[in-house]
């Protein structure tokens, strides 16, 4: 506790502003009070001289608007009616009003007379360590570098069971897709592997699992493939209307003895490649 006593305290700063009314009878507090968090004003000290006729009525207000509401946060009234002008020197305790409430200040005169040599001072206090992060010497200050080095739990998504299941499902889907592609390659020569066709075939075939079909539905939804892509479009076949009668072209008797045997051999050779029984 003894060690803490010298470490736990922060220095309160007590100070007084410059003359707020140095430039005239109106002033803004932004140029007067320092911009410090937690600042409070404890006293208003003011001084001015009135120049007036003794018999005249005159009331002087030294005031500050309320910056966050209507009305005044501070207003002091000096009634000089019926008395000679003089210099007034006053200290008004205000009970530690927060700095953000202090709006524009002014010295207002009602009646006949003039205010000269105005001087308005505000005594204030604040704790420089109101925000501990503002200064390394403040108690409770945390080094940002140390905060960065704090142990961070590393999350390995591959350890997550759900992620692993998804990856396994995707792997199996991928395997199934690859198998289908090989089958299509074997079915027709010259057909190009087309992602659109794969999607269409996946949707139209009953060979895939329900999961794959659901996945295909998601893929379709993501890619916004129109329904017309995978729905059968009725088509027509235009039959040839004009048929030419080729007639019968008999064999040439004159060439029968020369080419008939060759012709027979040629015909046998051609027919042999269509002989499926041999395959």
């Amino acid at each position: 506790m003894l060690a803490c006593s010298s470490y736990c305290y922060s220095e309160e700063v007590f100070d007084v502003t410059q003359n707020a009314a140095a430039a005239g009878l109106n002033w803004t507090m932004q140029n007067v009070l320092p911009k410090q968090a937690g600042l409070t004003v404890s006293n208003v000290i003011y001084r001015y001289t009135t120049v007036k006729q003794t018999e005249d009525d005159m009331i002087v207000y030294v005031q500050n608007q309320n910056a966050q509401d209507t009305g005044f946060v501070f207003r002091e009234t000096d009634d000089w009616s019926g008395i000679p002008g003089n210099t007034i020197n006053k200290v008004v305790p205000v009970g530690n009003i927060p700095g953000e409430l202090w709006g524009d200040g002014s010295i207002e005169v009602k009646g006949f007379g003039e205010v000269t040599n105005p001087a308005v001072f505000y005594s204030f206090q604040f704790d420089p360590c109101f925000d501990p992060q503002s200064n390394p010497s403040c108690p409770g200050y945390k080094d940002p570098f140390d905060m960065m080095l704090e142990a961070i739990d590393v999350y390995d998504p591959l350890d997550d069971q759900y992620v692993q299941d998804e990856l396994n499902r995707k792997a199996s889907l991928k395997d199934e897709d690859e198998e289908l592609r090989q089958q299509r390659r074997a079915m027709a020569e010259g057909k190009k592997e087309n992602r659109l066709e794969a999607v269409l075939s996946i949707v139209n075939t009953a060979l895939l699992t329900a999961e794959a079909q659901a996945q295909a539905a998601e893929l379709i939804a993501m890619n916004f493939i129109p329904k017309s892509y995978y729905q059968a479009i009725p088509d027509n076949k235009y039959e040839e209307k004009v048929v030419l009668d080729g007639g019968n072209i008999p064999d040439n008797r004159n060439g029968r003895r020369v080419g008939l045997a060759q012709q027979l051999l040629h015909d046998q050779m051609v027919d042999s490649q269509y002989n499926k029984e041999n395959k």
Binding site: I83, P84, N86, N89
Partner: protein
């Protein structure tokens, strides 16, 4: 186990510590404080004149009266009518002076200037308003009929009394 017992015992001892209350007392009562705000200096505008006026190179003495409660005291200020210390003077010195309110902490104190009582070199003011009032004293000393003051140190005293009513 022993350490735990020791810690518990220390805690119990701490809880049973006797606390003493020390009372600070004070009372607020009427009182008058006389403060010498500014000591005066005589200027020597002419060889035969000593004056506290600013225009004559002097400084007017200012006395402050602080009263905690209204109408408990009156102020009596006397401007000098003789030197407390001076070289030997062979002629009469003519003294003039005036006491007036210089500054106030309450606007109504300004009425002291109209309600003050003056007789001889004395100005009496009833302090009817609580707070602080500054009185300035003007003092002028003329030596003979335009006779020059001999060289030397001259001192005079302003008397400021605060008298209970």
């Amino acid at each position: 186990m022993f350490k735990k017992s020791l810690a518990i015992a220390a805690t119990l001892i701490g809880m049973n510590a006797v606390a003493e209350e020390v009372t600070i007392t004070g009372t607020v009562a009427s009182k008058c404080v006389v403060v010498t705000d500014t000591v005066g200096i005589y200027g020597n505008p002419t060889p035969s004149e000593l004056s506290t006026a600013t225009a004559d190179g002097g400084v007017e003495p200012i006395v402050r009266f602080d009263v905690l409660q209204a109408s408990f005291y009156k102020a009596r200020i006397t401007y000098p009518i003789s030197f407390s210390e001076s070289p030997a003077l062979t002629d009469v010195v003519n003294w003039t002076g005036n006491v007036s309110v210089a500054e106030v902490t309450d606007a109504s104190m300004s009425a002291y200037d109209t309600s003050k009582i003056e007789f001889d070199n004395v100005t009496e003011v009833d302090l009817t308003v609580a707070g602080s009032t500054w009185f300035k004293v003007e003092s002028t000393a003329d030596y003979g009929a335009t006779k020059a003051f001999p060289a030397g140190t001259y001192r005079a005293v302003v008397s400021a009394d605060c008298i209970a009513l």
